[in-house]
């Protein structure tokens, strides 16, 4: 299975994703998305930390594959450190110094005034931790949603929430064919590897990269044309009609209500 497919879908049936997996996709999208929006609105650390905690509690007790959530979370430090660490210094965020790191000597550097010392400020530390926590909260919530919902149900859920069918169709096709394109690119790469065992000059390497991008583009165009033809052949005339959705159970309602109450609580905390 290709890289993209592995990220998008682990192939588990809905029944093997714990009780969270059996909640209606619409309820999960609605509830978790609501908390996710709240996480981008709150401005203090406590509700953000609660958010992360809630996502992990859901992952742990929802009976879903915790490794997928953990894996997604691994990506957070790499990205946030690069952005958040500089924000904690006094050169970026003004504030009361907490730790003095080194002597900079003051004066001016171009249009900027250089401070006497490089310090970690209280305000900077707060901004940095808020950024890191917010990223962790969003990534955890999104990956809980992804791990607890099969992609095909996720798209169905979006449609059930009133997202236009054509829009969902495009999104579904993008994930559907992303895997195919990755495999296509892998094939082109392998075909090249098998033909060039010796060293290759940089110039030839560049020429090859350009050529294979062209080939990938050509292949994806051909595929897109065929998909459109296959749709027309089965009666598509410009408007997509899709299956209706199943009924909500009391559990789906309770899940959404719980999410709404939790989100409102977070907002109240600030």
């Amino acid at each position: 299975m290709g890289i993209a497919a592995a990220l998008l879908d682990d192939g588990l049936p809905a029944g093997r994703r714990g009780w969270l997996g059996r909640i209606d996709a619409r309820a999960k999208v609605l509830g978790l998305l609501f908390i996710l929006v709240i996480a981008t609105l709150v401005t203090t650390l406590v509700p953000l930390a609660l958010c992360v905690g809630a996502a992990w509690a859901l992952a742990l007790f929802g009976g879903i594959d915790i490794r997928r959530v953990a894996l997604a979370l691994l990506a957070v430090p790499a990205f946030t450190l690069a952005l958040a660490v500089p924000a904690s210094f006094n050169v970026v965020t003004e504030g009361a110094p907490l730790v003095v790191l080194c002597h900079l000597g003051g004066g001016h550097w171009g249009p900027w005034r250089v401070p006497e010392f490089l310090t970690v400020t209280d305000r900077g530390l707060f901004v940095a931790s808020r950024f890191a926590l917010r990223s962790a909260a969003c990534v955890s919530l999104a990956s809980v949603l992804a791990a607890a919902t099969r992609p095909q149900d996720l798209f169905k859920g979006l449609r059930g929430l009133g997202v236009p069918a054509a829009f969902v169709m495009v999104a579904a096709m993008m994930t559907r064919y992303l895997d195919l394109l990755v495999r296509c690119a892998e094939e082109i790469h392998l075909a090249k590897l098998s033909r060039s065992l010796g060293g290759v000059s940089v110039r030839r390497e560049q020429a090859w990269a350009a050529a294979s991008m062209g080939e990938l583009y050509r292949r994806s165009r051909t595929l897109a044309d065929s998909v459109a033809e296959a749709m027309v052949s089965r009666g598509y005339t410009g408007e997509v009609h899709t299956l209706r959705q199943g009924r909500w159970s009391w559990r789906d309602g309770a899940f959404v209500a719980g999410c709404l109450a939790f989100g409102a609580g977070l907002l109240a905390l600030g």
């Binding site: 809905a14 095909q152 096709m173 296959a230 005339t237 299956l243 209706r244």
Partner: protein
């Protein structure tokens, strides 16, 4: 009675290219099993696209079920939707054909576009999957399936509409022998049971007797080189040589060099002068 298809002097060229099909005249009757046989690039897929109202003749005339196929005709009710229901096209590339997020939605796609009732659709999805023995795939996303399973799902997505004619573009290409066998059996079954009309594009001579009673041979000049019963097509070495489906094969047995038509998909016996028989 109307012919299923009637082609009169049909030519077609892709934009800015030489014609991919020249002056094709033939017809297909109800319940026939026709093969479109030709080397790669001879225009088989192009011909099937013309039959399915996806491309349109630039000169000449294509009729299906008595109605001339034009861009307007295949969209306008009542003929348009009826034609789409009656003609099913199995694409060579299953990945192009399976574009929905799950197998169930894949099967439901055609009926939904045609405005069938939802309960009816769900019932038919179950029936059709059962018929092909793939009920267990119902909730699976198509991209994770094996190529044999993909072909079956693609076929199911056509059969759910109860088509009158199936257009099959190299249906067994890329399938393992077992899936090939199952597919051929299934097509045979469908033809025998419902009088389904089958049009199969292929360059595989071995496949021919299993899928067709009549063969339309396309030459490399994109013209119809012959239209004849399957046994006669298979027996006509000169014809098959001229359209590049078999090639002359020269080789040496001891001191003697000889040449004979040869097709690489099958082993065959032959004898020559000194009585030394051997096998290729």
């Amino acid at each position: 009675m109307d012919k299923v298809f009637d082609f009169r002097g049909v030519s077609f060229a892709y934009p800015g290219r030489e014609p991919s099909l020249r002056d094709a005249t033939f017809d297909v009757g109800e319940g026939e099993r026709l093969a479109v046989l030709g080397a790669n690039g001879s225009g088989k897929s192009t011909l099937l696209h013309l039959m399915d109202g996806l491309y349109f003749a630039q000169s000449g005339e294509v009729r299906a079920f008595g109605q001339r196929l034009t861009p307007e005709a295949v969209e306008r009710p009542p003929f348009g939707p009826l034609f789409r229901k009656r003609a099913g096209f199995l694409f060579q590339n299953s990945d192009a054909q399976l574009f929905c997020p799950s197998v169930e939605e894949e099967l439901a796609f055609g009926p939904l576009q045609m405005g069938w009732k939802e309960e009816e659709i769900l019932r038919r999805v179950g029936d059709t999957l059962g018929l092909l023995g793939i009920a267990h795939l119902r909730d699976r996303p198509p991209h994770g399936l094996s190529s044999g399973e993909k072909k079956k799902v693609a076929l199911a997505s056509l059969l759910i509409l109860s088509p009158v004619v199936l257009l099959l573009d190299e249906p067994t290409a890329g399938l393992d022998p077992r899936s090939q066998g199952m597919l051929l059996e299934l097509l045979d079954d469908l033809h025998g049971r419902g009088g389904l009309t089958l049009v199969t594009a292929t360059h595989d001579l071995e496949l021919l007797p299993h899928i067709a009673d009549r063969v339309l041979v396309l030459g490399e000049d994109h013209r119809i080189a012959a239209d004849l019963p399957t046994e006669r097509a298979l027996g006509d070495t000169d014809l098959l040589l001229s359209v590049n489906l078999i090639h002359a094969h020269r080789h040496r047995h001891g001191a003697m060099v000889h040449s004979h038509p040869h097709q690489h998909t099958r082993t065959h016996d032959h004898a020559h002068g000194e009585g030394k028989d051997h096998l290729h």
